[in-house]
Amino acid sequence: MKKYVSLLLVCFLIPGCAKQEIIDRIKIVQSIGLDVQGDTYKSSISYASYDKKKRLDPITAEALTLPGVWLPQNTKSDDQVVLGQVRTIVISEKLARKSISDLAVNLLRDPTISNNAAIVISKPEISTVISKTFRDPPFYLAGLIKQNMEKGNTPLTNAHYVLDQFYGDGQDVYVPVLNLDENGLIFMDGLGVFKDDKLRLFLTEKESLLLKLLKDKPKSMTGSYEFKWKNDEAVYFRVLHGRRKILFEQNDHVTISLKLYLQIKGLPKNKNYDNKSNLLELEQDIKQHLTNEIEVMLKKFQMNDVDPIGFGEIFRSNHRNWNEQEFKKDTYSKLYFEVNPEIVILYSGVGVSAQ
């Protein structure tokens, strides 16, 4: 017994070796920006700062390998730089076009980066975007992206999803895209779809909503859409939630059935909101429009040989002998898609419109 007690007391000498990261004496990084120029990687780090008096600058680093710039060494900082609360990783278009396999490897091997971090591509220069984040409150960028995923037109994606799509078979990576508008405000601008590890094509915001309808879970199938009806009048509706089923009929025939619950927000002036036949007609037209748009988008994917919706994955779960190469070469381009949306207009609001 005495032996154990003395052993225990000796254990209490060890805490001197524990690494302390006292919360107000560290630089908490909120976003990492990565860029590549030729062979050199560059990174620009923005940290959360709650001290109004200090001058705020992004910490930059340059190296020949990605791990070299991942956590910049503390030569430019007066406190220890830590990556535990990183919520956004911004990569430049150049890096995306070059390859993201280095980034994926680093994400996988670094235990301090959270799996919930959002990975985004930025169309303008990385340094502009990162220095812009200093003028906003801390974690503004993370909030912007998260809010768009929950209530806007961006499909749900984070580091966990990206790694799963990157290393898994039958699915291609897609990440949201940032852009700066004329006033210098950051906004979400569609999606970027990768083929293998290189950026392949950009999707507009409308197409990103359609992708969201095809990929997301029912609760987060939300977004707003605007389309032109006949006579060139615009209709604006919001998707509240929906359900989706993707089935295979025969080997080359894929049926996608969607059921969407909409809230109509803007009708043309000469239509009445509570006229039942109007709404029915509207439903039919929205159905038709969505079918067309989705089929066009899917054909675009087939032509570019990318598969962000993951038909390969769905095929793999249904077929015993499935080979990714075979699927990509032969089957994917021959798939015939049949889209059956069903529209339910839940709310059209109250009100009179001009008769």
Binding site: A18, I22, I28
Partner: protein, 471 residues
């Protein structure tokens, strides 16, 4: 004091301790009785018949005489026969002891506030008046070689488990001490494990709590000169029961009991959680909290561990000092210490805002246990936890919890495990956690192993039917 008196031509030798006898009783009853008696006093028996008091012994044993004289008896010897004398009990029980028995330390708004006093006979009187049953047995012993304190074991025969009773009797019988200061002394000597900060006997000064314990099958030990009565065997969860729970409807009683459990957990872990999160685990802080926490800590030059230690020691100093100050000064200092010191510490940059809240709340929360002894334990347990959290962060806190659990699981109070109904899991015993309505409480708790299980039978209302129209 010895004096010689001549009453009716007889010489009487009186010996007594004048500080502990009731002089009025001597003058009014004893001496007057002898003086006014009709018969001639020839020997001791006549004297005995003449005195209108009871409890008179004849004795010539020097040991017994010394013992009795110390207890307030008076020894009367007749002049012609100095070998033998009468011992009469004229002890002054009233003087020096307080009269009121309002329960000050265990206060409850509703319900009787009767508390025990220092005098053993008054306490026995109170108990006997409340439990009117011929099965209530008091066994008296004298303990303490120098204090000769009367110690009484109280139990309800037929309900209490004879094994527990024998344990208590045997331990008390083996007890050897010089002065029994308080029942806490007895508590520490006969308890199962003295190396624990947890109280193993329930000690209370309220009569209704002791009533409840006796009827459920506990054994109580009272001692002369102590207003606290200890009873065993207890479990850890008994210390969170307050008599007020029983006087309120059971839903409210349960709610308040849960508040107490949460308060205990908060009190032990809040400060150490602060230390470990601030020092090692910044990653788990939610986004919205990062701002306030960092801003409040920005001007503090100390690491979180020193900050917490400083604040905790300040609070402990306040408490200890406040307990010893006279009332008038104590009130002022309470306000000064509480409000001004906290604010000033923040302004001076010695602590952060969040920490003041956490430390003061956890200090408050440690006192929600109705029994004072457990509150002290909780207050003490925070410090090792803070040390462990400062050393190893979250891992240190888990190590502390492991040690605590390991210690608690091995504790036994009079042979029953301390963590019943959690550890030797008793499904029926789970109703100890909530204050069950009386309709469900008709059986005595199983860990006490009573001889009779059922305490009362539950009958339905005869005039209110049990269907939904009653709701």
């Amino acid at each position: 004091m010895q004096s010689v008196m001549t009453i009716r031509h007889k010489l009487l030798h009186l010996s007594y301790y004048s500080s502990i006898v009731n002089h009025e009783m001597i003058h009014r009853d004893l001496l007057a009785g002898i003086q006014l008696s009709n018969t001639d006093i020839g020997d001791l028996n006549d004297l005995k018949n003449a005195i209108p008091l009871d409890g008179i012994y004849m004795s010539s044993n020097l040991d017994e005489i010394t013992l009795r004289l110390l207890q307030g008896f008076i020894y009367i010897q007749l002049d012609n026969d100095l070998h033998e004398g009468l011992l009469i009990n004229v002890a002054d029980l009233e003087r020096g002891y307080r009269e009121n028995n309002l329960a000050e330390n265990e206060y409850s708004v509703i319900g009787p506030k009767v508390a025990f006093v220092e005098d053993l006979d008054t306490n026995l009187n109170l108990l006997r008046k409340e439990i009117i049953s011929e099965n209530l047995v008091f066994e008296e012993q004298i303990k303490g070689t120098m204090s000769k304190t009367r110690v009484v074991i109280a139990y309800i025969d037929g309900v209490v488990n004879p094994q527990h009773l024998n344990t208590v009797r045997q331990r008390l019988g083996d007890l050897d001490f010089d002065v029994i200061y308080d029942t806490s002394t007895i508590d520490q000597i006969i308890s199962d494990n003295t190396n624990t900060p947890f109280p193993l006997f329930m000690s209370t000064e309220r009569v209704d709590r002791m009533k409840v314990n006796l009827t459920r099958g506990h054994i109580a030990v009272l001692s002369n000169g102590s207003p606290y009565v200890i009873s065993g065997p207890t479990t850890f969860f008994d210390f969170f029961n307050s008599p007020e729970d029983f006087y309120l409807p059971w839903i409210l009683g349960t709610f308040f009991r849960f508040i107490r459990y949460i308060a205990i957990v908060f009190s032990i872990f809040a400060s150490s959680l602060y230390v470990s999160v601030m020092t090692y685990h910044y990653t788990i802080v939610p986004r919205a909290l990062l701002g306030p926490i960092i801003e409040s800590r920005m001007n503090v030059p100390f690491p979180p561990f020193l900050e917490v230690l400083f604040m905790e020691i300040t609070v402990e100093l306040l408490r200890e000092a406040g307990a010893r100050l006279p009332t008038k000064v104590g009130q002022t200092l309470g306000i000064v210490g509480g409000v001004v010191l906290g604010q000033a510490a923040v302004q001076a940059g010695l602590t952060s805002n969040t920490l003041i809240i956490i430390v003061s709340l956890s200090a408050l929360a440690s006192f929600v246990t109705p029994i004072f002894k457990m509150a002290n334990t909780i207050r003490f347990l925070r410090f090792p936890m803070i040390l462990l959290a400062a050393g190893w962060g979250g891992l240190g806190m888990m190590i502390g919890v492991m040690f605590l659990l390991g210690h608690l699981l091995r504790l036994k109070s009079l042979g029953t495990p301390y963590l019943v109904p959690l550890f030797p899991f008793r499904y029926k015993g789970l109703r100890e956690f909530i204050r069950t309505p009386f309709s469900m409480n008709s059986e005595r708790p199983g860990f006490l192993r009573p001889l009779k299980n059922k305490s009362y039978s539950v009958q339905k209302h005869k005039d209110i039917s049990d269907d939904y129209s009653n709701e």
